[in-house]
Assembly symmetry: C2
Homo-oligomer: 233 residues x 2
């Protein structure tokens, strides 16, 4: 049965944060929380009466600082990160194929999708794919740092994501144009970068992008490897 | 079972638009769509593969123009409005207590909540209250035009909304601070204007607000009485 997450937005970095709430009220998880919205996110949790048990990261972000460490301290939630992202303070280091359980009967399937970064992962919950910066609505993440690889991203998307049920909802890590949700079926047929394009064509396209270095990268990346906590754990 | 809507935002007027999608994929409705986001909203409907059958208004808005008429023309959806809001081109004129059906087994309960405007209504679907400008997160709509009445708003909220199940999620028509969703229980206990305040105290508070006239009122209100269509139907 289709159950949507609650989608929250950071206008500064155009980042989406997601709250996943068990429909029976038995627990909740948050994906990719942003440090400057800690109070907002805690207020949502309080207003909705949620018990937050898991904080997930899709990867070590280069464009904003996570609030995972502080959320963990305030709620007792476990910090859960991709094992290949170099975030040692997180107690749960996720591997491809893991099933993360929360609440009475919720589970999140962990899908390793290298490409945007070498360690990037996507999360699948009740027909909803949280695609991080791997697959965006009508686009995809950049592949030019943190072990990124256009060839890997192409394989991750075409072999692991585009093989999911076409009705799976795609909730991206960012959007810059108000496109907040899509489906696997639509992206397979229409994605401006990935649909109807060979692996070689995609690699050539990505190599030609010449993107500027993320403004916050030198601050955000070291901070995020400590879950956003200045002094580690 | 708790199923969330998809919440979309207009940053210019801080308006929330909601897409309600039947979990079994059998149909969809949209509440309070904004004209400048017609393309965005149509793109969401296309990407999600939805069949839009109903366009709802919570009231005749004074701060933005609706896209209801154009959405109706593009999708064949029925325009559904509160009967007391003076929007004659809408084919469905809703009354308090109506049950609006969409999809195979969805229904939206219609609750007349005068106060922000005389005709304002709230809609209840699967444990989600779409509260328009009647009840906002930690606040409420103004009551100084379009037949507005602080006393009526107090009665609507305290007698009709605060008597709903405390876990009912409250999805407001606007928010100006990133507060996107709440619950009846939280608002009963904490709402800055309505919790722990008598009717007389509330009326006095609202009378003292001295709010400026909405900038777009002279444009938006006549347009919205025609479903946003310049020349009526």
């Amino acid at each position: 049965m289709q159950v949507n997450p609650i989608q929250l937005f950071d206008a500064e970095s155009s980042t989406y944060t997601y709250i996943l709430s068990a429909p029976d009220g038995s627990g909740a998880a948050i994906i990719d929380p942003v440090d400057r919205h800690l109070a907002r996110d805690m207020a949502h949790i309080a207003r909705l009466g949620l018990q937050l048990t898991h904080v997930l990261e899709t990867h070590a972000h280069a464009d904003h600082v996570t609030s995972a460490g502080r959320l963990r301290a305030m709620t007792g939630a476990k910090a859960c990160v991709p094992s290949g992202c170099g975030i040692p303070p997180a107690e749960v280091q996720l591997e491809d194929g893991d099933l993360l359980r929360f609440g009475a009967r919720e589970h999140i399937a962990v899908i390793h999708t290298p490409g945007h970064t070498a360690g990037s992962m996507c999360y699948l919950w009740r027909g909803n794919l949280f695609s991080g910066d791997t697959l965006l609505v009508d686009g995809c993440g950049r592949t030019d740092f943190q072990g990124g690889s256009a060839a890997d991203l192409y394989d991750s998307v075409t072999r692991k994501l585009f093989t999911l049920d076409e009705r799976t909802r795609v909730w991206p890590g960012h959007d810059y144009q108000g496109q907040s949700v899509s489906t696997i079926g639509w992206e397979k047929r229409h994605n401006a970068r990935l649909a109807h394009r060979s692996r070689d064509e995609f690699v050539t396209l990505m190599a030609a992008l010449e993107l500027p270095r993320p403004r916050l990268m030198d601050v955000a990346l070291p901070a995020n490897r400590k879950l956003g906590l200045a002094h580690g754990i």
